[in-house]
Symmetry: D2
Subunit: 413 residues, 4 copies
């Protein structure tokens, strides 16, 4: 007699019970990390914390006595992709601080010792000004300057994490990451950027031969949010004596590199953007972890400058909506190459401050840029920083908006 | 007070219990299939079975009264990748039937009405001979002919599944797939090749715009086995009146297309080859399903001809061992293109038989070829067949072996 | 004392005199040919002419007593690119014969023994009909059939060059190539397709390892003409027993493979198309030979079917007008790959006739196709044919026209 | 009667006379330049010469009263490729100054105010030292430092062209380019690097959208010489206030990025390298201008450090000897990408000096590097410099030599 036909799936209850069980287990973590996600306070790593970081924390009353860094407890980390989608999934009223700022930025520039453009199209260094001392007028002008120059640098800063967080709140809703390491359980919204830690703890496999990966590749921060990242402020308080540069590229200029025909083709299109971390699919827990994916404008208009920018990056753009997969791949690959190969739209920044004990800040606008953290120090010298990201508006494309060069009356050839 | 540090993972027991539970649930299936794996006998599809197939089964006493096709019950399908690895993981004594065959193939050719080479480098059709009638001497000669011509065709065949299976056993250990659809639960070792069924049942998304996928792309069968596929015999008993061709490309000729310097570089190297289906990783069940992966010779010597062949295919070659990932990708992509772009080393075969009620057989050697099932019929006309694969030796590279052109004394330019 | 500044160029008169001298020297020839252009009658090659070709010529009173093949004398071959541009540079009234033909093709099909579609999307063979016997109604229907099926084949033909030429005149202005080998100096408009001759005489470097080149690569004929090629009729009178297939791909289907968004992007665009041969630039004779280049619609509407076709090919499309060079390169490369990788829109044809002494004709429409002459016979067996090309209309894009699948009501997914 | 067969070529005498005539006409020039080569002194451009350049020349008694720049007269410029090959075609005894230098470089470093490595793997700036004041011991040590660090920078230099030339002679045979603009007819061996001039005069089409081209792309200088460039010393005496950076990449590090298997494959191979300028082929004057091409070691050992370096660059490497053209293309493209995509093996340098009236020098070793002159200033601010190149040894591969990381005992992963 023939065996009776039976369904492959046991009862739906069984699956649900198992899925529930999964929910109590460890989170999946970052897609490039091979190790497990650690939670709670880290005991042993505090000893390896750079002296300059410890001094900064001590100076500003930051408590790291429980260990360092800190990752939220297991039950606070989303396990399922629907839980991750639910985070900040509603409209948040964003105020673009740069919009009504003085175009001449007299308050900001007047207080600085020097304002130095590092290249023609991207990157400005402000010398002789403490970020901690900025008034609101200056913060507005700085927001506009970042919107225009893509990234702005301040060396020799004495900046507390608390002040850095306060600045972030001024420029938008501060992103609180559910599982990225933090300073401690009080300072929500500050992420610890410590590649040596990620590398050893999470198995991020950076080596000399494999020095492209993690943040050490072209990417844009937090593109998968309902309202993706605007200004990110990375303050490095421990910097290798040599190396550890970061390179930024301008999305305005990338857009201006395209032919009018290709610009027109991309204008108004959307793409799918994904998160760096992965989560379980409740309906299909065995078919592999999933990214949070959201659809945004591929060419977006910056609300302060009104200029169009090419919003793509190799690490987190999944596909262009409306194209066949292979078409999308070919065109995205070309768009990435425009960002990456045109060295005239990039700035490479060395973080080294001249004054001991002080840190360096870079503030860039993720709406209009990609960046790449160069990993040439190979973990031999500490590189440690704190990062605060102000989320901005829901990306939009204004068909009336102009490209940067159009708006500035520059040659379009 | 600060929260206490807690490990992200609950006790190891919890994980094991959950994993055990997972094992009783549904298998993951083919990596390109979006739907669930169905098990047992299929009731409703039998009605759509082509008349010519039904007639063949009836003629040869094949029982499909329980439904059609049949997939083993859930508890017989491996869920975990370690279970899948365990299948046929030990050496099996393979006898190469072509090795001692008469090089002139007098018994085989003498019985045929016509022997027609379809192109210079690949593909021969034998006319006027029934596969079911071959004696052992002829089967040996056919094995050698396949080894030389890569693929051999027989039209107008009246071939029972039982006889097809018997032929397969003669040429090697017959592969029994743990979850691919079969005729019924008695006929282990015969796979049902019915793209319309796969397409609707498993969500294999073939459409006109997406006609590349599944078997409709360049691939080689069963490369992940401990002893991968040798001769595969596909007998099509239902064939579209127009379309549904299959294209094969020769691995001997692909190797001969390379420069001596690149040949030398590849000789002796190995690559990782993966299965089409995926399974749960017991140690890391949430990090996504895994393929069975095995390491084999990248350039392999065929035991019957002694000729070297390039053993790669776009669908199932993961990487070349010993190269950096990007190097491997670039070189594999080039090797795929050699197979795919050189139309002079390919044969395109139309299965149409001239006599109604009869089927067409193609017998090819997977050790020395790739193939591509053209999906131009778009499911509008039935295409149905039964497939038997004889596994061969553990792939090896004999440094003394020659390329086909070298051995035949042909120009190497 | 400093040397006096002198212009690099001698007087303009000197240059002109030299250029004039150049004009009397040898022409440059085909861009892939390494050797010199031979002119006049070829004495020695006539002995290598295949017997079947000689018999055909003898049967139909074709005079090859002066040698074979024949290339126009030196003073009749254009040397300068402006001279080459001047050929057929004016509008010629083209009549599309397929336009008003009976859509059911009753006259043609009724007279045939069998009409067999070789694949779903491209290629039809007509059996049991002599091309030489077609009446005008049948010729019109054949033009429509070619327009629909892209390429149509006739085996077992007894066809004189004179009749082949007459057929060509019926379907359009017959192209007379200024320097491609001909039968003799009377039969203008018939090109000799004899790859063995090209290979040895002109240094076309085909070998097994380099079997992609010349006609043995994806191309479309005569795209650089003011009114490019419509129907090309190749009659092969000497065919290798094995091998020497030709593969065609459909431009309708290639267009239908694209997403609606990419179709819209390409609709109405133009590209630059170049000749196979090169000529001296009179203004800049030392900066290298030039191609004749003309701008045509990239997506063109076929006047008989009204369907849109993707008019590109790897060998002769220079760039898309209005795109940056790198953009054009990336998008064209993608479009070529659509033609080349989708095996479901290709047909591979074996020319072998069953009856000795007869030839095989393929008639394809260059407006809607690419083709590739497979060179697997390696010159070991003769392959010889005569080709007549009927030029068609100036390519145009009708914004109201539909794709083939749209017009036929087929699924667009 | 049939026309008589005539050869396409007129008598050989005719061709020779014409070719001789061509030789007296204008040279062809740089392959990317669209305009004609200008010869002699340039009258009108002197007015556009930057003030800082004029001041430097005046300060050091450099005569530009005849015009500026100066290009050798027409009859001194080679027109035929054989003439270009004849330049420096014999072995010249090269002395590697870095070879016996003090590894600690005490004389050089002791005299400097600061020695600053700009990144981990490439680029060092020496502060507080005038190049014009170096003694031989220091010059030897500098040669070794350049050999180790790939490129060394000196800002705030007061350096005469004469002194720059003298330094060049110390480090090797100074290259005298037959047609690149010079300061005047006395100062052989100094090339004028003035992109604004090249751009307008020669039609080098740099624009914002096309900012990759000429020197503004990845290249290595003078790779086509019998003894290619060693140290190149570019002294910029006019520098845009913002922009105009140059980026260098290390060939040692590029080699160290490769897998041992690929390293072994490339070790001992050679490639063909071509010149930037083109010349007439005397035998085939109409088939287009030709580059000077020479074969060199693809992996070369540096005589001072003994380290292996990857000697390729996108602009001037034609092909790897012994590979099929497509293989060579794929592998070279990969090797270029290793240089270009790994930002950790690059340094980006801003030339801006802090002291007005002084210039900045960069000295790099072309044997072990590529570089890219960023064109973001768009010609709006002058960038002008003088360049002296010391040619080095015939490239060689020492199978006993080590990679940089091997020699330094660094991790090879």
């Amino acid at each position: 007699m023939a065996p009776t036909a039976t369904p492959a799936t046991e009862s739906k209850d069984d699956l649900e019970a198992t899925v529930k069980k999964l929910a109590s287990l460890k989170p999946i973590g970052h897609s490039s990390f091979k190790g497990d996600v650690k939670v709670g306070y880290e005991g042993s790593w505090i000893e390896g914390l750079p002296e300059s970081t410890k001094a900064r924390y001590a100076r500003h009353g930051v408590d790291i006595s429980n260990g360092y860094p800190y990752v939220p407890e297991n039950d606070k980390i989303p396990k399922f992709v629907d839980e991750a989608y639910a985070i900040r999934n509603e409209d948040y009223p964003f105020i673009e601080r740069g919009k009504n700022a003085d175009p001449e930025k007299k308050a900001l520039f007047g207080a600085a010792k020097e304002v130095r453009n590092l290249t023609k199209h991207i990157g400005t260094e402000i010398v002789g000004l403490q970020l901690a001392d900025l008034n609101d007028k200056q913060k507005d002008e700085l927001a506009l300057l970042i919107a225009e120059r893509v990234v702005v640098f301040f060396k020799d800063q004495d900046l507390s994490p608390q002040k850095q967080l306060e600045l972030g709140h001024y420029w938008g809703q501060v992103e609180v990451h559910p599982q990225v390491p933090r300073i401690n359980h009080q300072l929500d919204g500050i992420s610890v950027i410590w590649q040596d830690y990620f590398r050893e703890k999470y198995g991020l496999g950076l080596t000399f031969k494999k020095a492209i990966g993690g943040n050490s590749q072209w990417h844009t921060d937090l593109v998968h949010e309902h309202q993706p990242a605007g200004i990110t402020h990375l303050h490095n308080d421990a910097i290798p004596k040599v190396g550890g540069d970061t390179v930024w590229a301008s999305g305005y200029a990338a857009y201006d590199k395209l032919s009018p025909a290709l610009q027109k083709f991309l204008d108004g299109k959307t793409a799918i953007y994904r998160s760096a971390h992965q989560y379980i699919d409740r309906e299909n827990p065995l078919k592999g972890p999933k990214y949070v994916e959201r659809e945004h404008a591929l060419v977006r208009t910056h609300p302060a400058t009104g200029w169009k920018s090419l919003y793509v990056n190799r690490s987190m753009t999944v596909r262009i909506v409306g194209l066949e997969p292979e078409e999308s791949k070919v065109i995205l690959e070309y768009l990435y190459s425009v960002y990456e190969k045109n060295l005239d739209i990039q700035v490479r920044f060395n973080w080294t401050p001249s004054k001991p004990g002080l840190g360096t800040s870079a503030l860039w606008d993720n709406r209009i840029s990609q960046h790449f953290a160069v990993w040439d120090h190979e973990g031999n010298e500490a590189r440690h920083g704190t990062r605060v990201t102000s989320l901005a508006e829901i990306p939009y494309f204004d068909p009336e908006s102009k490209s940067q060069r159009e708006a500035l009356g520059l040659s379009l050839n």
